[in-house]
């Protein structure tokens, strides 16, 4: 898991059924659910009582060996239990439909953030060109409109606390919107099956105050990393760019090879050749990972060309050098 801040617990906060409702439109889901739930429980109890009574009253006993009266038709009864459920479900349909429209049609003033789903990670592009992986930072009390697309297979952006979910389809945009009612970190799941890492494709929505949001935008933007020494920049990028999702720094192999003690070592590639791990090899493996895949690993690393500028690549290389 990317060690972005830990999301709030879903299971205990909130009512018996739902996680805590954070977005303004979450009540649409909770109210209709509870209405149907209680209507069903009442109807279920009625049926249980009726069946229980019949089973008790008309069970087969030596004197009750054949049915005395064969009531096979009762129009009034038949009409009631056709029309009443019909009216009830049409009412539920309308309630669900109008709630749905409020949940999915974003208000005009929503600020837009682009979401790209890729095999087993979320990438967010902010209006000022800022990028973050696995962590969506949004201001509180402002409607946010996410315009989403996938780069490989179907994914689905699902935030239980906001009650939002929509599939990401390659070569097409789909959108959702939400407005957080309070700050906090909230869990993101991928809900559409997308392969081995489907259950690892998690993220966090970090809802912060508006001022903090502006500070974060400036502070973590490309320009802000001038003054930071290279290896510290590399260490910060290791988490913010999501490298830690696949590469560990403690020597244990994950989806990708570990970075510990990698610098200067010779690696045998899947193609059998051996190559010395130096600046050029690391740079090339970031920009075009599938060129020289280390033996024993799947070529699943997405190309970071365009996602990392030269200074950031140099920073990461310095950080890797430091990891003896």
């Amino acid at each position: 898991m990317t060690n972005t801040p830990k999301a709030e617990i879903l299971i205990s906060k909130g009512g018996f059924w739902f996680p805590e409702a954070i977005s303004t439109q979450a009540h649409q889901v909770d109210q209709i659910f509870h209405f149907i739930l209680w209507a069903s429980i009442i109807l279920f109890l009625i049926l249980t009582v009726v069946v229980g009574y019949f089973l008790y009253k008309y069970k087969r006993t030596p004197e009750n060996t054949y049915a005395k009266k064969h009531v096979t038709h009762n129009n009034v009864l038949e009409i009631t239990w056709t029309v009443i459920p019909l009216v009830l479900v049409l009412f539920i349909f309308y309630w669900g439909y109008s709630g749905y429209l409020k949940m999915t049609i974003p208000p005009a003033n929503a600020s837009e953030i682009r979401v790209t789903g890729r095999k087993w990670m979320w990438q967010f592009d902010y209006p000022n060109g800022n990028k973050s992986i696995g962590e969506l930072v949004v201001p509180v009390h402002t409607p946010i409109r996410l315009v989403m697309s996938s780069e490989d297979v179907l994914h689905s952006f699902f935030v239980p606390n906001f009650r939002v979910k929509r599939d990401l389809v390659p070569n097409r945009y789909t959108r959702i919107w939400f407005e957080a009612k309070r700050t906090g970190n909230f869990q993101i799941f991928c809900a559409e099956f997308c392969g081995d890492g489907h259950s690892d494709m998690m993220g966090v929505v970090r809802v912060v105050t508006a001022s903090e949001y502006q500070k974060w935008l400036k502070e973590s933007g490309a320009a802000a990393s001038e003054g930071v020494p290279l290896d510290q920049l590399g260490e910060k990028l290791y988490t913010s760019k999501g490298c830690n999702a696949c590469h560990s720094t403690d020597g244990s192999a994950k989806v990708g090879p570990s970075w510990k003690g990698i610098y200067g070592a010779t690696h045998t590639l899947a193609s059998g050749q051996t190559v010395k791990v130096d600046d050029n090899y690391i740079r090339e493996s970031m920009v075009d990972p599938k060129a020289k895949v280390t033996a024993g690993f799947q070529p699943v690393m997405p190309p970071f060309a365009g996602l990392l500028n030269d200074r950031e690549i140099a920073g990461l290389i310095e950080y890797i050098k430091k990891l003896k």
Partner: protein
Amino acid sequence: MSESAPVKDNYLNSPKGIWSWIYTLDHKRIGIMYLAAISVAFILGGIFALLLRLEHLNPGPLLFTAKQYNQLFTLHGAIMVFLFIVPSIPASLGNFILPMQLGAKDVAFPRLNLTSYYIYLIGAIFCIYSMIAGAADTGWTFYTPYSSTTDTSVISMTLGAFILGFSSILTGINFLVTIHKMRAPGMSWFKMPLFIWALYATAIIQVLATPVLAITLLLLVLERTMNIGIFNPALGGDPVLFEHFFWFYSHPAVYIMILPAMGVISELITAFCKRDIFGYKLVAYSSIAIAIIAFLVWGHHLFVSGQSDAANSIFSLLTFLVGIPSGIKVFNWIATMYKGTIDFKTPFLYALSFLALFCIGGFTGIMLGALSFDVFAHDTYFVVAHFHYVMMGGVVMAFLGGLHYWWPKMFGKMYSEFWGRIACALIFIGFNMVFFTQFILGSKGMPRRYFNYLDQYQPLHAFSTYGSWVLGLGLLLVLIYLIDSLVDGKPAPANPWGALTLEWQTDSPPITENFTHTPEVHHGPYAFDKVKPS
């Protein structure tokens, strides 16, 4: 075999030898062969289910890697749907009982019936080959573009399902023509048992929906081999179109599964209350209504897949309409118990648990039909629990009920009533332990098809796993005592339950020709008032 009476020759032993079974044209033998095949599939699917639940005891990898887990739930889904539950009631119980309840000697096309059985076996071989050669890991829904790009053996699994589709179509055609043309003299449409009405509605869906599954899977195979691009977004295709194609079959398919179950329940409740069904015409027409509305609602699987909101709203409206006929049936069954003489034999216990579990499945279906809730609950464990309540709670309960009800007729042996009740109780309790907790898991936001999950869900998952052991034990018990009844069960009388439908008028197990003389029908199938029982 208790040798009290000299064993009369019946369909089981009259033509002797293995070849007489392999080349049999007798619908009863084909029904038994189907029963054996789908039981093996059910056991296999059940083992995969137990492994899945075991894996979920705690979050981290316990027995499998992520890929193996994905392959496992794909196999569980595909085997249960294509190999067990679609053919379960129509092909095994239906093949055996339908001609007898119609008073016919056999189905309309016996050779076609045997061909559809062997097509089923060939399809099963394809699925087993896929299992061995790196099973598909796409989920039983095979959504593109993942299914067209993954390196697992998706082609052999899709070809397996493609072939199984034809077995289902041929059974459907056979039943359609048999019901139209082979009824006993005097049996008008409204003197047919309700099990036949349900199989008629099922046959309509089988013939009209399964070919679209065939073309979908064929296109998927062509997508993987020739890259024709219809479902490949990079070439201009549309993966959501695949979802339309797939669910155009798969939603009517869930009605292929539930309708015969409803037919069995109509038989069980009337037989064990010894009372005419309440509102015969309504129950019959609601089967046909379900069969037709089934084709209008598939879009509720695509609510969050990027479908247009116009389609979302219309599909949501129609989804609610499909709930009404099911409601009518449940109310009519309960009304049938009024003033009956209720006998608590095992089949009736399964019918009662069907009523309870199918109602819960139906109510949660109404919830999932509402657009706003489905946006939250789609692809979570709430949906997993819903469809297991309807499929396992509905179809499997009715299948077990029907199996026990017709067991004396099929094998001439009585099963042990004592063990039957214990097994039914175990299954009911175990089932609710497994799947009611999954409702709560789902509403807490736990997505489905997750290999490892957040630690906070661990207690619920563990409880669900314990429940799966109880359920597994219950089903194992059923297997044991049914097989035991074959060996030393008491010989069964011709009509152990005193029911009036035609299959009970001949002796059990019946002779190959079913009836010594073609029966005449003068009254309805459940006219207990006209026939004063002894």
